[in-house]
Symmetry: D2
Subunit: 374 residues, 4 copies
């Protein structure tokens, strides 16, 4: 369905060429200062306009319609809407029986029949990711507020050996040694940062894009996300591992075709003695990070890292073969318009958004974000 999350739940709606797209964010704690300005900077990063991205730019203004009072969240669902403007659906009328290769045109029809809204990919449009960015920005604020801005005592729970051990803020036993270390320690700093690391197989992103523009074709890429400052112990032992939750929502981003955590596919060519990360202190810090900060599905306190494979945008002006569903005959198609040469360039803020959503939810479940924001 179109809903995701356990205590922080999102519900997405809308179509590319309908009246609007939007999202409901349910379960956000009360008391978080929030306005549309908190959402705009990540929305700007998602927009096209840079070399290699579409030149068609929508003014993505997130209208917060509920859940805010006096500039702060109330605890009730937050509904955010983006109105659609400057829509031109004529192009799509012409090709409604001619599914574009690589798009969801045909599968949407296979699923919903002739009733599917085919204009601009309808509900399947990449435009819906603006709503994800907005929801993710709220989750980011929750994480920053509750990790970076709070002095925290975090020990290694369950490792105590002495009767005289103290309690951590979370009510867990702390061994004395760890306690004193923790008390002195400065707060954790939370950062979440994604970037394109490769396009069309090359680390020289600019030249690869220039080449693709000349070739009148689109190219794929690899985007990496790194999250620092998360406490250990997030995630569930079996079906709701951190990898399960992140990959679940990552694949709702159009064009993502693969994901790997830590060294990922490179692990498949490693020996165990190399792949295992040596543990170097009682907090679980490791020398290497092939695990990507996750063991047994649960954060280990090291940096969480993952990379996704983004396929080239399917819309290209080069001539392609497809089928006319009415006549059953093969036809040629050239997709006109202002396309993304390299859609990967727009993915980084999305990886940050979906990661923030997953971790804010897990932090709520593990009671590391309070139900009323401090």
């Amino acid at each position: 369905m179109n809903t995701f999350g356990r205590l922080l739940k999102i519900s997405i709606f809308g179509e590319s060429h309908g009246e609007c797209i939007g999202i409901v964010v349910d379960g956000c704690p009360a008391g978080l200062r929030l306005s549309m300005h908190d959402l705009i900077s990540d929305l700007e990063r998602r927009k096209g306009g840079a070399k290699g991205t579409t030149t068609r730019i929508e003014t993505d203004i997130p209208l917060i319609k509920s859940g805010i009072f006096n500039g702060k969240t109330t605890g009730a669902p937050i509904m955010i809407i983006f109105e659609n403007k400057n829509i031109n659906s004529e192009e799509y009328e012409k090709i409604k029986d001619i599914p574009r290769p690589g798009h969801a045109d045909l599968t949407a029809k296979q699923k919903f029949g002739k009733f599917n809204d085919y204009r601009g990919a309808g509900h399947f449009s990449g435009r819906l990711t603006a709503a994800l960015i907005a929801a993710g920005a709220i989750a980011k604020k929750l994480l920053i507020k509750n990790i970076t801005e709070l002095p925290q005592v975090r020990g290694n729970p369950g490792v105590n050996t002495k009767e005289s051990a103290s309690f951590s803020e979370e009510g867990r036993l702390l061994p004395k040694a760890i306690l004193s270390e923790a008390t002195n320690s400065s707060p954790r700093k939370f950062t979440i940062k994604a970037k394109v690391v490769e396009v069309n197989g090359s680390k020289n992103i600019e030249s690869a894009i220039n080449a693709a523009i000349k070739e009148n074709d689109s190219i794929g890429g690899i985007v990496e996300c790194r999250i620092l400052g998360l406490p250990p112990g997030l995630g569930e032992p079996f079906f709701d591992s951190v990898e399960s939750l992140i990959s679940h929502i990552v694949f709702s981003i159009p064009a993502v075709k693969g994901i790997e955590f830590g060294s990922g596919f490179r692990c498949a060519s490693m020996h165990g003695s190399k792949c295992n990360d040596e543990i170097i202190n009682v907090n679980g810090k490791t020398k290497t990070n092939n695990a990507g900060g996750i063991n047994g599905g649960i954060t280990n306190g090291n940096e969480v890292t993952f990379r996704v494979a983004v396929k080239p945008a399917p819309s290209i002006s080069k001539i392609q073969n497809t089928i006319n569903l009415k006549t059953g005959k093969s036809v040629k198609i050239s997709i006109k318009g202002r396309h993304d040469v390299c859609i990967s360039l727009r993915v980084p803020p999305l990886l940050e958004a979906i990661s923030a959503l997953v971790f804010a939810d897990l932090m709520l479940i593990e009671q590391k974000i309070p139900k009323i924001v401090r």
Copy 2:
């Protein structure tokens, strides 16, 4: 949590060195012929014993404790238990404060404190995957019964243009041309098949394993799964895409660190003109299959393919550095026992099981498996 699925729901429990492991399968339609013999062949494939796998073999007898009557499912939850035998937990007592690199020992402690059952990895043990295999075998039977054994009329819904169109079995409109084709067609054939395609970076699996045995180390690998015969239209447009659901449950298999659908990470180096799969008939058959049978998160009727990266088993007898959590000092550890040199060899039946669970659930949601088995 430890639950997965929407209409076909599984709930897993148990520990490696506890009394048992097991699973509850809820939502299986009534009337499916089922006995433990249906579960055994896939369980056999998961077991060790072959070169490159552990020489410690448990007799994995699945005891079906509920949900069956007169040899058929009743519609009520099916509970399956595997009793644990020949458990030797002494080894684990010695190392309970010394987390093994690459294992979940430390994260389990970070999450559950000193109360975690550390014996044989407890609830995090790979042994729980036997329960997944058993549940998957039920899902496989549902799929085979409802795809291969049934003559089916399947058209391309929503493509009709004439008033005189007929209805498909699912009550969807069928254009005349497609109808006659469909009526004549033989039934779909459902197959699901996973295999190891590479270990330690080599396609020569046997020699790679022999080398690893000599080196006293473990090695990773890549396992591929292919599913043929699925109808188009399975999966949801946004958060519950087929890729989302499969990857969600794939990452509950210990040692999996990456997944890609179709050409996956190779798409990141492709041009759009190459990556887009040309559609060659009205049923959506494509010339190539870079999409892995999935567009916009929804099956397109072509073969579904995905590959997972399996890291080397973390248990190795080679000496490794880690930390003693009690003393905070660095220690050396050598993990004794009969380990899997190449754990990838045991993954194929698991990929089949989790795929079958996802697709049986989606088939129920799309009403392509009836609530009472025919």
Copy 3:
């Protein structure tokens, strides 16, 4: 949380004095003809204006913002919004530290702290039930379309005794006798109808209301809902019984304090020989209907009936005692405004709406409403 349903899922949002209230309806099959006109007649019934209800009337115009294309549902989420107008929040500023007895003023503060939107009861307002009515109207259309408008063959599955038995439309075995009966039968007719059966303990509703108006007080009542035409077999054996699902959502209607199915509380004074409903034909028709059409949590094909207790509206102009939370001192409060003397009068369309939502969901799960509307 603010989400309900399994395959037909609703997600509600909004505040009484915010910009809007609304709902997302996810999982509605594609192809259902739908416009705001389908929603309006039930919305009109919910509105005040009649004797005994508030004289403050909002123009409840449901704006369908997504999920519709060419006048039909697309299968994507349907978002419906009601804009708030003519809001006067001043009154609420005055009493924000003085919780009104019988209202959620204090519990909202206890849950969400000082961040709660207290204006007009905020997210707790009865105004949100307009969104429920709109969602319910969609569910009603699904039920009418798939029960009343379709000729159906419905047998008593599993009752066959002969090898030569035929299959029902649902692929279930039908004994010959039942088959012939079913084939000849006219279609089921679906009706859903709720009404006030008692106010302030009296069946003479008008005189009870007149008395209450004179006394300047509010009064409670009992509302009954009857649903005819549902197929047997809906509901789940354990936690998701029909009674469980209906009562779950009924208690989200403000002022409901009790529910009973069939003869309900009267059963507590009955003997078994009287309470048991005699079965009089193979379709399960019963002579009496103390069970309210539900046995073991599952519909039995008879009329489903339930009654709810509605407390008097808490807003009254009579002087009441409460506490000033700032000063801790007792204060007197008289709630001014145009109140509902008998809020029960507005409940009938709500009972119909929530029943339709539950049964449309169950019909989808039992595959009696197709995923693409015929």
Copy 4:
């Protein structure tokens, strides 16, 4: 389905005359001391044997098969099984085509076809409630441990007026006056207690039972549950109100046909001035408790009270009319055996169990029970 709960999730399985019944309890915090002895006293209360209940007594021994290590919960799922013994299914063979009035015999067949396990009501049997009792006993321990045994600072959040306000244990602002009161206060005391308040319309329970025994018939009753000590703020504003959650699971107890909270159906005959509960201090204590401790779906800190209507057990030896499904003819049936004259007598521990499950879940969600038990 057969699953209930959000963070504390239960999954039930088993049949009356199969090998066993049982339950998986997922999400119980680690560190709770637990053995089968904690479950037995409530299980004893559910058992028959007293006057008015069945004379057939099973030895209900709850075998805890997973999730416990060294006598404490580990955080992994807890699976509890009850083996079935002394089963005599012959009686049921005779009547398998003759549905008993008032039982789920026919609806089970209508739902699952001929595959339903009809022996002793199969999965629909009241015997499964033993599993609910066991799960509820765990939830009770969690509540007692985290309410009664902990000294707590509880203020009225959000009510502060001064900059110098302090934080409560939950990180919420506390006004000075309340803070000092709270600090001095003794811990809350948690109690949960259900009892039969009426049978067959009479408060004289013993004489009503004696009369029913003479009449060879069964009788219904009303059971009340009271829960004291819960913090305010539990429950959700809309679909997951406390009333919604409790009534959802209450109706999975066989024979329950109605529920009312606080004054419930009596509210329908009250005036608002009488029904509204006067608030008498800043903690929300009320003079009366017509609301049953719940306003707007959320606990208000007062005692939570509810009552359920229990119909007479449908199994009676008196002759009843029903239908033979094979022949379609009317037949007479007398149900032999050792029946419950007054099944209500066995309901009290069940109301306590399901209430404890709901409130332990809500306490986890509101972060008032920590993820590792203190």
